[in-house]
Amino acid sequence: MVKNLPVVPTAKAGSLVETPTGITWRIQYPEILANCNICLECTLFCPDGAIVQQEGKLVLTLKLCKGCGICANECEENAIQMIPEYSGVKGVFR
């Protein structure tokens, strides 16, 4: 069966947001600690838009995060900690 495709090869805007790439690559994830002073810098350094600002707060969407660790590396307050995804022999995928 030939697929029913758009005439011009196109993709629906923003459609990857719902089915993000790379979540299975992640071996560590960030956790925002209580000493975060909401400077918001990490929102501009995250390559994946996983940490964004909403109403003056930081919102972390883990399903968008590839676990690169830039946010933790850049945070001047040391308020982001990277935590390994796997613990023990079976591991846990969040």
């Binding site: 923003g14 459609s15 719902e18 089915t19 994946d48 838009g49 590839k66 850049e74």
Partner: protein, 289 residues
């Protein structure tokens, strides 16, 4: 007027769910730029990581019109898009071509210089990771001297072509360098460029941790070290007036270079020579040593 992060647009127009590597510097550049450009933007991206990570098959991360063009033609395509918008009376749309260092300085240079000479109402962005990363990291004209790449295991023997100077020579409306480690500086430059009636060129240093052989989490850090060492100057040429937009603290250039895998073979003589040339450039008395 200083911009604050809190005041930036909350719209996420690019990057969420993208198919690039974790810690991708190009994606950071795209996210920062879109904070300035906004949703009324049409972007063309030639063959590159940035085009590939934008989506595949029926899915894309872009929330604005995005067109993955052939390698050497994004500025020409954008010229045509602008002509069509004008013909249809559509205003207030930013037309942007966004290419890597190959699509800008090498295979894409002909269409870029053409569009710049015509002073097309558009912005061309070079996201520069200093090698051809989408094909596995080969040497190009934007690869710095000595850097090891996948096709030059002994390092590049000649210098990096100065694209900013070349674009400045076109006497276009606006030329600027930017680094993903200085997002507010980058965003301010995009906002300026978007206001120009003619051609703007923005050259962003966007490290690729795979090509540079650095840890993924240090992508931003190296973009900062390049600037702080003075090796990559942040400046703009706004309608002919040149202005440095950030004064570096002049950390030793060795701090930037020798910890990168691609430069690990540098001799101390080569590092000293590079440090001297930086000193001379900034008038810091490098000649005497």
């Amino acid at each position: 007027m200083a911009i604050s992060i809190a005041d930036l647009s909350k719209e996420e127009l690019f990057g969420q769910g993208h198919a690039g590597c974790g810690g991708c510097g190009a994606a950071v550049a795209g996210r920062q730029a879109m904070k300035a450009l906004g949703s009324r933007t049409i972007i063309t991206i030639p063959a590159s990581c940035m085009a590939t990570l934008g989506g595949s098959n029926l899915k894309t991360t872009w929330q604005i019109p995005f067109y993955h063009t052939l390698f050497e033609m994004a500025p020409a395509v954008s010229s045509g898009i602008r002509a069509a918008l004008e013909a249809q009376g559509i205003e207030d749309v930013n037309v942007v071509s966004w290419a890597g260092d190959a699509g800008t300085a090498d295979i894409g240079f002909q269409s870029l210089t053409g569009a710049a000479e015509r002073n097309e109402h558009m912005i061309h962005v070079c996201y520069d990771n200093e090698m051809y990363m989408n094909t596995g990291g080969q040497t190009g004209s934007q690869t710095p001297m000595y850097a090891i790449t996948s096709n030059m295991s002994k390092g590049k023997a000649v210098k990096k072509k100065n694209m900013l100077a070349i674009m400045q020579a076109h006497e276009i409306d606006y030329v600027a360098s930017a680094s993903i480690a200085y997002p507010l500086d980058l965003i301010a430059k995009f906002k300026k460029a978007a206001e120009k009636p003619g051609f703007s060129y923005i050259h962003i240093l966007a490290p690729c941790h795979r090509g540079w052989q650095i840890p993924a989490e240090k992508t931003i850090e190296y973009a900062r070290l390049a600037v702080e060492s003075g090796l990559f100057e942040l400046y703009e040429v706004d309608e002919g007036v040149r202005n440095r937009t950030f004064e570096p603290t002049f950390i030793p250039v060795a701090d930037y270079l020798t910890t990168q895998g691609r430069f690990k073979h540098l001799t101390s003589e080569q590092v000293v020579k590079l440090q001297k040339s930086i000193n001379v450039y900034y008038g810091r008395g490098g000649d005497e040593e």
